[in-house]
Amino acid sequence: MYVAVKGGERAIDNAHAWLAEERRGDTNVAELSLAQIREQMSLAVNRVMAEGSLYDPDLAALAIKQSRGDLIEAIFLIRAYRTTLPRFGYSAAVDTGAMTCDRRISATFKDAPGGQVLGPTFDYTHRLLDFKLAADGEVPQAPIAEPRMEATPHITEFLQGEDIIEREPASDATPGDLTREPMSFPAGRAVRLQSLARGDEGFILGMAYSTQRGYARNHAFVGELRIGKVPVEMEIPELGFAIEIGEVELTECETVNQFKGSKTVPPQFTRGYGLVFGQSERKSIAMALVDRALRWEELGEDNLGAAAQDEEFVLSHCDNIQATGFLEHIKLPHYVDFQSELELVRKLRREAQELAEQMATQEAAE
């Protein structure tokens, strides 16, 4: 039985009003504009877009402002918003090979065509706080060089020549969509990748790190990491042809992993794949490692019982909105549930005490 208890309404309204005030902070400090968040907190914006699973920098900036910078709360807002959008359709698969790369590095081939392009990376910074930024964030223009406008080929293409790396079988099979059909297991690689792409960065990082520390070890090299924009093309039913409907920034990571071969496949390298909205380097590398670990069965490897090999474990727990929803609901009123537990524990204690008294009486009588 549920017993409805009313009376919190005024308290809730007042809590919301105070929340709004706290979000604004000291009014002597200038208010943040969405453009400021979008331009200067762009990696937070990227994370909200990736895990909110909706590419729209302005909306992500709004969500970050509204959530006071709590990114999981911001992702929650974006997930809620996206459910209100009519789905116009599915794009053609983006061609990451045609990406105009801001960054493109390979840990496997020094002299890859297209070169090692560092882009705007934190990698070689000293991780020392820059106190100049506390006073003034103005920066000189970055140097330029002769631009390379042609497409940069994928590194794995070079390895495929010798068949020394597994091939990705080309296919136009319609992939499962976990926003439309509830996930069931085995989920298959397409749904796994969708789930990982919107999964929590921290969770996927932890899973990936566990594989590096030996739980489902498969030594991974970053074959290639690239960041840049790609056009998105969609077939328009009323026109009868496809047009570009916009452009998205993506981070793509392809790992090259050792594989000793199986009964049917000679030793060769295998692949893990990560693709994430925005500039999300850590997430895309982690995604590629977890993708590779989850492929153990398909590649005929042993199940080592590692968490990162367990599809059900990884996919059921990587979504931070599901996780936080279930976790945080236990702080909401459970007065009736708890009352029944309280009565049960009191009853058990009473019985235990009665038993102890009986024993004591018996002992005294003997």
Partner: protein, 150 residues
């Protein structure tokens, strides 16, 4: 009204309009100064498109996540139909894009290309070029250091 519009040509201008910066498109459109009378066939509506990627960049497709898109369709007084599918949630941007799509099928196409599409194209190319130039400056130029005596 022209009837010999190729799908390739139309795809090119619709694609350009989809990616255009809203403020820039609006300003160029005002500069063109030829706002036609029209009726809505479909008023602007915002929606989502599921973006797909491919495993390993080349294999089987999977669903990556959605992006926001606004679409609309309208008809000019002479019956020409204009469509728009533009990135983001701006209804004014979609409206201008659909008007441009319609007018590009009429005899003002040459002027319109000059006034709106060409500047958009130039700006987009310049932006890409500028980023590519910065990227090029971060390209590593390896050189080999000789170590040891012999």
């Amino acid at each position: 009204m022209k009837t010999d519009i190729s799908a390739t040509a139309r795809k090119a201008w619709m694609s350009l309009l989809a990616q255009a910066d809203e403020a820039e498109l609006a300003s160029l459109w005002r500069g063109f100064d030829h706002d036609p009378a029209f009726d809505w066939l479909r008023p602007p509506e915002a929606g989502g498109v599921m973006v797909r990627g491919r495993m390993g960049g080349a294999g089987a497709p999977f669903n990556l996540g959605e992006m926001t898109v606004t679409r609309c369709a309208l008809t000019l007084a002479n019956g020409t139909v204009g469509h728009a599918y533009v990135q983001g949630r701006s209804k004014p941007k979609a409206e201008i894009a659909a008007k441009v799509d319609a007018l590009m099928q009429t005899d003002v196409a040459t002027d319109l290309r000059q006034a709106v599409l060409q500047p958009l194209q130039n700006r987009l190319a310049a932006q890409r070029q500028a980023r590519a130039a910065k990227a090029a400056a971060t390209k590593v130029e390896f050189f080999t250091m000789v170590r040891g005596e012999d």
